[in-house]
């Protein structure tokens, strides 16, 4: 639904409508060009100390090219393109991972060490680094570390690494524009709450009480 039209339907005072329209223009503008800036600097309210921190941690790269290539392959194995949405790399998840390990340094050693562990395992099993393995070999490797309950004991470091990699990939993906659309989050826009939709109440065999219907706010 067109947000401007829905806004006009809101019976608000002139002042708040004006501000809301501005707020809406802002979100529309962002929706048009979300990929041009993922820094958050200048787009959301920041203290000078936050900007300084941002500039400091983004001045350097953390991962090497080889590591980034491996992260990208892994991220796209974890979140591939399907009939609903694009892949992790479509959603720029590797860039997010590069940023987040600098913002949360506690992830640095588990990520770096995990990537190295993975390469050494692949070298042992396939005589190649993970990146240089065939697709089949990569999946054969991933299958040994992607299922915590059935993985062999000697694969434990790999399981821990893959859990972290899966966590960061999922969180990076589902907080991207592509991912939010995929998961179907329907909010973050001005609206008027009239309660759970009728058909949903019916689905769960629920109903509002007379007291609730009488006391709670409702909008036409």
């Amino acid at each position: 639904m067109d947000r401007r039209k829905s806004l006009k339907a809101l019976a608000l005072g002139t002042l708040s409508t004006g501000l809301l329209l501005d707020a809406c223009k802002e979100t529309d503008k962002k929706a048009e060009a979300p990929k041009t800036d993922t820094t958050g600097t200048g787009k959301i309210d920041r203290m000078p100390e936050e900007l300084e921190h941002y500039n400091k941690i983004t001045a350097d790269k953390f991962f090497t090219e080889h590591e980034m290539a491996t992260i990208t392959i892994l991220a796209d194995i974890i979140i591939p393109k399907d009939e609903v949405s694009g892949s992790a790399s479509d959603a720029k998840v590797p860039d997010f991972i590069e940023f987040i390990v600098k913002d949360m340094p506690e992830h640095q050693t588990p990520m770096r060490g995990g990537l190295r562990w993975l390469d050494l395992q692949c070298l042992r099993q396939f005589e190649k680094s993970f990146k240089d393995c065939s697709e089949q070999q990569r999946i054969a490797m991933v299958d040994q570390i992607a299922y915590p309950n059935k993985a062999k004991a000697e694969m434990k470091p790999g399981v821990n690494f893959f859990n972290l990699m899966r966590d960061l990939t999922c969180t990076g993906f589902y907080t991207s524009e592509i991912g939010v659309k995929d998961i179907g989050y329907a909010g973050n826009k001005p609206n008027q709450w009239n309660g759970v939709p009728e058909e949903v109440l019916k689905q769960y065999n629920l109903a509002y009480t007379e007291k609730e219907n009488a006391e709670c706010v409702s909008y036409k």
């Binding site: 002042l15 962002k30 958050g40 787009k43 959301i44 309210d45 969180t171 609206n191 309660g195 629920l206």
Partner: protein
Amino acid sequence: MGELQIKKQAVNYDVIIVGSGAGGGMAAYTLANAGLKVCLLEAGPMYDPAKNVTQLKNPWESPRRGAATRFRPFGDFDACYWGWDIDGEPYTKAAGTQWDWFRARMLGGRTNHWGRISLRFGPKDFKRKSIDGLGEDWPIGYEDIKPYYDKVDQLIGVFGTNEGLENDPDGFFLPPPKPRLHELFIKNAATRAGVRVIPSRMSMLTKPINDKRGACFYCGQCSRGCQVYADFSSSSVLVKPAMATGNIDVIPNAMAREVLTDKEGLATGVSYVNKDDLMEYQVKGRIVVLAASACESARLLLNSKSARHPNGLANSSDVVGRYLHDSTGADMGGVLPQLFDRKRYNEDGVGGMHVYSPWWLDNKKLDFPRGYHIEYWGGQGQPAYGFGMGIQSMNGKFLVNGKQKEAGGYGASLKEDQRFFYGASIGMAGRGEAVAFRHNNCEIDPNVVDKYGIPVLKFNVKWSEHEINQAKHMKETFKEIMHAMGAVITWGGDDGLENNYGLHAPGKIIHEAGTARMGNDPKQSALNKWNQAHDCKNLFVVDGAPFVSQADKNITWTILALSMRASEYIVDQLKKNNL
């Protein structure tokens, strides 16, 4: 550094207020509207939620996707500058004790991001000692504060329902929003478990109340501040209109150092360091009102020693800094399998719960003296950092679209799992009353100063068995409610005596109170029943410090009511030439 000199302001104000949160904002609003010349000192920068915007942003507009930082401990979009750890402003703790101190540095203080849970204390909450023999009774009763609660309700706006409950008084309520889907499940289950669930009472405008503020548009992001001022923040709802009177000068980035006094021991002004130019300033006034937060106000008093006030200002009783207490808190989370694979729709609602449970039992029949309320959450929230993590603990445990899967995994199957589980999580939190003890205190650390050279606070707080037993009861109740609705507990279900039943460290709930308590006996209290210092009649404290006890209710609404009451008293006493 050049020569250090103290700059003295030429203006002599009627009132100097330190701090611009709920207490300071209300004092500023009331006194400026009464025509007094007011100076408001704030330790952080100016802030206006209409200009300093993080609301209605998408998660990808934050590089860390809304994750917390040291600068914003409640997340990258949260409308609070600083929190547990401020550069150059340390605090210390006695060995073996815990206290986490959350400090906002911005106009409006913590009210910019707070939960907006706006509860009146009830008649029993002012007389706990008479009921259970612990702590102290307030020098006032509900009947003294009721007219001010009524005025605060109407001035600021709060939704809720009149339920006729004895200790959760009725008020002037706007209509509440209808419960969300998970809240209907919670309500039904809790009711079966014997726990009363009623519409929450929160300060968002479900209807417009004047032409200065818009009505709620249900983005669920009150913690980010509201561009149309549809929720209560001191910055937008109190300080902004106070400034419009022309009677108030707001001085931002002013870190108060000391309350100045004369030979008679009366307050004459406040000295502060300006954080921008690092120069020392003094501002003079007839009356000083402290509202810097319970602990910062105590720190200021204790740092304001003089020949007349050798133990710190307003502290001949030696109670300043003592009786420090926070709300208790313990939480539990889970998933509601009925909500797997649910239909998508916008259920943001207001920023927080639409229903809650006020305390429903009689402590005489329990092994802990004070009650708690329960807050609830869940549903289809905006994804943020952390979303989608830990799937291996979910997708092996529950059938996904009828299929048993191996925990963990990747690929298209993983994407299916994420869609399937979205919106099914629920949680609940107990927030209870702790007993205020004299030995739980903050005092000046003789060894440590902050970057401005101001001696810092040292905390010495421990929970007692009362709070631990209460947390145990919370967890038992949560389990009953979870069980009654068929939910599966995913965290917070394994706590025991070894970790105080998941009881959060004191300070964590950010309801600091009690450090300059009011009372009729000057030997047992720092302030009288008008928030006025026994030892210094032109000094008032209007934040959480005057609280004798803090009930099982969030304290903001009572801070507002008491600050308005104290401010009207100041106006009255000035008219009568008593100040």
